[in-house]
């Protein structure tokens, strides 16, 4: 008998169930979507309360200028995302992107000061960015560099977690990885003292594209 059979067997004996037996109705509940009149304003407020830095950009050139100012000449790696191409970020001198393979991208992410990505959704009531791993959106760009900058279309800001789960009933259907990012990486493991940037980025910027 395998461990699997043994474990399932013990469970069924303890619960008095038969192999292949169905289930009683699941506890059902409605997702209560919070009412948020101004999602952009609430997102920025909550994001900044967690030491994130929010920027508003009214058009593509404003977004580009914001990113240039944050970058301030430092090295950067960017996701190959249409939003980044459209704003001209991918054309900036010295912003690395479009890598020949995963190893090259990974090295760039490990080397660069800043990672620039987009976010599929954001959650206003917690100041959270939601990132799916998908073509043009690697996991490591938002993770390895000490500074993370994300472009967020204002129309993709949702009220909260319930809103997201109502739209995306099964995140696994879209991607192997859905990550919520709520502020900079932090720890309080030594004497309860809050320190930012322990493994992930210690500085996180959200550039909210109010025109999208």
């Amino acid at each position: 008998m395998s461990a699997r059979e043994n474990i399932l067997g013990r469970i069924r004996t303890a619960l008095g169930r038969m192999p292949g037996e169905g289930i009683a109705p699941r506890p059902n509940f409605e997702l209560q979507i919070p009412s948020v009149p101004d999602r952009t304003a609430l997102f920025c407020e909550r994001f900044e309360a967690l030491a994130g830095k929010a920027h508003l950009a009214a058009d593509a050139s404003a977004a580009l200028e914001t990113v240039k100012a944050i970058r301030n000449g430092r090295t950067a790696v960017a996701a190959d995302h249409p939003l980044l191409a459209e704003t001209g970020i991918l054309n900036l001198e010295g912003v690395e992107h479009s890598f020949p393979d995963a190893a090259a991208r990974r090295q760039a992410c490990a080397r660069c000061d800043i990672g620039i990505s987009s976010a599929t959704y954001s959650l206003a009531d917690t100041g959270t960015m939601v990132m799916f791993a998908k073509p043009g959106e690697p996991r490591l760009v938002s993770l390895l560099p000490p500074i993370h900058v994300a472009l967020i279309p204002a129309s993709s800001i949702l009220a909260g977690l319930e809103d997201l789960l109502a739209r995306v009933a099964d995140p696994a259907a879209y991607s192997s990885s859905m990550v919520f990012i709520t502020g900079p990486s932090r720890t309080a493991d030594i004497e309860q003292i809050l320190i930012r940037g322990v493994h992930g980025p210690g500085e996180v910027h959200a550039v909210v594209l109010t025109y999208r």
């Binding site: 461990a3 474990i7 490990a110 073509p135 996991r139 990885s177 493991d189 992930g200």
Partner: protein
């Protein structure tokens, strides 16, 4: 983890007599208590009590149909290109990881914080085979270097000072002594960053296993779980079989409760929802994904509906912070990796009650744990059940059992009670004013009385009992 029959008295007294440690435990738990209190207040989360009830119902439903959901998650993980591995006990988990590393030719393993792998003592096993397994949560990393186990479920190194940390880093990494926590963190970050980029296998725990999605959900603040699950070629998630929830929708209940109950955060910095290896069109992520599901004694709790509740636990640590016993004796005086009230109920159930029969008695039954539990586990009720089991198993001597039977008989009969009360008050010695009973030389030096009085005391009996005072007042009216 030695077999024991009584509490580690000497070690407990050492903890109680260490003012620095007492302050560290007290201030850390108080901070977590305050943060939780704000986060679940009516203003911050009006639906808090409804969410607790719902979380309890969802967990109950899942555990009552655990075989169904285990088969479901297996189907879903497999469909996403991952593999599910069932393990009967901690050894089988270690064997699996060991064989996987050998088979894939990997020598370096990075691990993110996982209480389940703490059960396994994985690091010792791997090291004995010349494999390196590195803990990457800052607190856990420091503990690994210091060869200690976690002091607290969510704040594993709360007992260490910055000076302890400085010693540990200097001794193990050969760096110059540094006492600033910010700089210490930078040192750890730089060392661990190399490990993340080199490691072939990343091991994480799972806060939830979403059966319908075939996914694990990992919450954290540092980013080490994201790195462990994204940078190495192989991702292994290790979870107890009780970590299942039916679907992603249920996260709207559990994520709202977990961070708030643990640290007062509405959401932790990172919440990762991971299903299988990277898909064909995804630019990065692991090539292989394994979900290891551990029994490790959990199925023993299923038959009894009251004890089954112990498996609802989502490891937020709120019961530790609010426990008057934990806050005095700390985490290391509990016999296993799980401390506090939840440790006091799951340790004897996973290991068998014979091993640590004293543990269910290490509680004042004040009920604070049940009050703050986000999934409404009735911990005091389970403690009482376990106490009854210890007593029925004969672990308590016949003398003690007879004494309590007599006690119960007297307590249940008001007339007998007042008779015995009057007799006791009449014959009880009367120490000088202000003194307490244990100050007397006799009879409190008799063995059973002396043991009882060594931890507590009674004021001397009043010359006139409450009952007789009440009676005479009533008569005077």
């Amino acid at each position: 983890m030695n077999p024991s029959s009584g509490p580690p008295d000497a070690a407990i007294h050492e903890t109680l007599g260490d003012p620095r440690l007492q302050t560290a435990i007290y201030s850390a738990t108080q901070r977590l208590i305050d943060h939780r209190k704000n986060a679940v207040s009516t203003d911050a989360l009006p639906a808090y009590q409804d969410l607790r009830t719902l979380a309890n119902r969802i967990k109950r439903h899942t555990i009552e149909h655990l075989d169904y959901y285990l088969e479901l998650v297996e189907t879903q993980v497999t469909a996403r290109g991952g593999k599910v591995v069932f393990c009967e006990d901690a050894n089988e988990v270690a064997d699996f990881v060991l064989n996987l590393a050998k088979e894939k030719g990997e020598r370096l393993i990075v691990k993110s914080k996982s209480m389940t792998t703490e059960e396994v003592h994985l690091n010792d096993r791997l090291e004995s085979h010349q494999l390196e397994a590195v803990e990457t949560d800052l607190g856990e990393y420091l503990l690994q270097l210091a060869h200690q186990r976690p002091y607290h479920i969510v704040a594993p190194a709360l007992h260490m000072t910055r000076y302890d940390v400085a010693d540990v880093l200097t001794k193990n990494l050969g760096v110059e002594r540094e006492v600033e926590p910010e700089k210490q963190t930078k040192i750890a970050r730089a060392t661990l960053r190399e490990k993340f980029l080199e490691a072939g296998i990343g091991i994480t725990g799972a806060n939830f296993v979403v059966a319908g999605s075939g996914a694990v959900v990992v919450v954290e603040n540092e980013g080490n779980a994201r790195l462990s699950s994204s940078a190495p070629r192989i991702h292994v998630a290790v979870a107890g079989i009780e970590k299942l929830i039916p679907s992603a929708k249920d996260l709207a209940v559990f994520l709202k409760l977990l961070g708030r109950s643990a640290t007062g955060q509405p959401l932790t910095v990172y919440t990762s929802f991971l299903s299988g290896p990277r898909r064909e069109n995804e630019p990065d992520g692991p090539e292989e994904f394994y979900l290891v599901l551990l029994d490790g004694g959990r199925t023993k709790l299923l038959a009894d509906p009251a004890k089954r509740e112990s498996l609802f636990c989502i490891r937020c640590g709120a019961c530790l912070n609010h426990c008057p016993v934990y806050r005095k004796i700390g985490g290391h005086n509990y016999p296993w990796v799980y401390s506090g009230p939840i440790g006091a109920i799951i340790t004897p159930q996973f290991h068998g009650i014979a091993k640590d029969p004293w543990l269910p008695f290490a509680s004042s039954l004040c009920g604070a744990c049940a009050e703050v539990c986000p999934v409404k586990i009735d911990i005091p009720k389970v403690l009482l059940k376990l106490r009854a089991e210890v007593t029925h198993s004969g672990a308590k001597g016949p003398g003690e059992r007879r004494a309590f039977r007599l006690w119960a008989a007297v307590m249940a009969r008001p007339k007998l009670f007042s008779l015995f009360g009057a007799i006791a008050a009449h014959f009880a010695p009367r120490p000088k004013s202000g003194a307490w009973i244990r100050k007397l030389s006799w009879p409190t030096n008799l063995a059973p009385l002396a043991a009882w009085l060594s931890q507590r005391d009674l004021p001397p009996p009043a010359p006139l009992s409450f009952r007789s005072q009440w009676k005479s007042r009533k008569a005077a009216r």
